[in-house]
Symmetry: C2
Subunit: 236 residues, 2 copies
């Protein structure tokens, strides 16, 4: 937790004093091993980042005086469209994308996605938010990514995707692509990433017809949570 | 498991027939849902990759006829020197490094590494090998990385590191560095990555005196398993 993320509910007076007694309190007490007078990095969800000076730390809770001064780091201008991965991988993937500054994520169905994945409790909005917050705490950011679920491949690709890719470079990660993933693009990207078995030829055809370029990461196949990090690191 | 990794023990006649009854068998049966006649990607540890044609698949074991023809993918010319991360993160980190083609890894002590991490069962050679093999199966490679443990920072840096960095570009990942991580370097690199709390100023000073350049990954702090993937993706 490189940044203690606060919500408006944490404030016990108008603007400056917060009281925490949840996992953030335990983390500050047991991992940071902080004490009264110490200053910690804090941020208000959807708002600025700054410092929290510990006013008191008891066996039950911590109180801090908050001063917010800096804007959160710039987002990366990518829309991430991800074939729904298996639940334990989804958690790490959402965390990593959130830590790296992705702000727009679609989780979509595709042929090789197991239908049972859509039933996972990990997809509940509160569970998704939990992973995104862990990512923000890691990456020292306050702006929650927007995550949308789309259970149909074809309606998403035909009805929504043409508008989404307007003004962006549209790339689909595909192990059998002939082009390498471009580097340091300095422009907005729509990045699609397939499921473990990859997108099927019909899906790749639909995407290339829309203007997507298939790109690869070399001749090694990475797990989706690593592939996303590698693709974003190459692109930006 | 994008590649079924074989060892010489798996062969039941001189060169061509293997019999598997362990987790690889269960994976082929339950995840690949393969049947007699199907061909799978296989590789022999330390040797070539090729195909295995399923001769029989019973309730107990699978037998395959193996044909090995291709060299494994080229390694990436990096020596990874990693301050020992906490055990659950170490596992994912070794897997990711192995999948990406790193062949030489040192796990070292540094000031901010918790001493208890050195007592973890994850550091037993068999457990390390298990993670490396999972990475090779993912990345479709057969060459096991060499992993060395060094429990003293100073003796390692003073006695071994000067020789190790000969002929390589020496970089240390450091969040407060002024230079960005270089891209697409096309040369051997010695890459050092600190613990969660980072290298302390004394350690950074020792490393820069040896010729290391501190580099950063932007103003977001990534977890070590993601930082490694991001650094390797930028470098190669």
């Amino acid at each position: 937790m490189n940044l203690i993320l606060l919500s408006p509910d944490d404030f016990i007076n108008k603007k400056t004093r917060v009281r925490l007694d949840d996992r953030r309190y335990l983390h500050i007490r047991d991992i940071h091993r902080a004490k009264a007078g110490d200053e910690l990095s804090v941020g208000l969800i959807g708002d600025r980042i700054g410092t929290g000076k510990i006013a008191s730390l008891t066996g039950e809770a911590i109180e801090m005086d908050i001063s917010l001064s800096l804007q959160p780091p710039a987002p990366i201008p990518v829309t991430l469209i991800l074939a729904l991965p298996r639940p334990n991988i989804l958690k790490r993937t959402l965390q990593a994308a959130s830590a790296m500054g992705v702000k727009k994520i679609f989780l979509i169905h595709s042929n090789q996605v197991e239908k049972s994945f859509w039933l996972s409790p990990v997809l509940q909005p509160a569970k998704i938010r939990e992973q995104l917050i862990l990512g923000l705490e890691q990456g020292k950011d306050t702006i929650l990514p927007d995550v949308q679920l789309r259970k149909g491949f074809k309606p998403f690709v035909e009805d929504e995707l043409p508008d989404l890719i307007q003004g962006t470079r549209a790339l689909v990660a595909h192990p059998r692509a002939s082009e390498e993933c471009p580097r340091d693009v300095r422009e907005p990207v729509t990045l699609m990433i397939g499921p473990e078995g990859g997108f099927i030829p019909y899906e790749i055809k639909k995407l290339t017809e829309l203007g997507f370029t298939p790109v690869h990461l070399g001749n090694r196949i990475l797990r989706v949570e690593n592939a996303i990090v590698a693709l974003l690191a190459k692109l930006y």
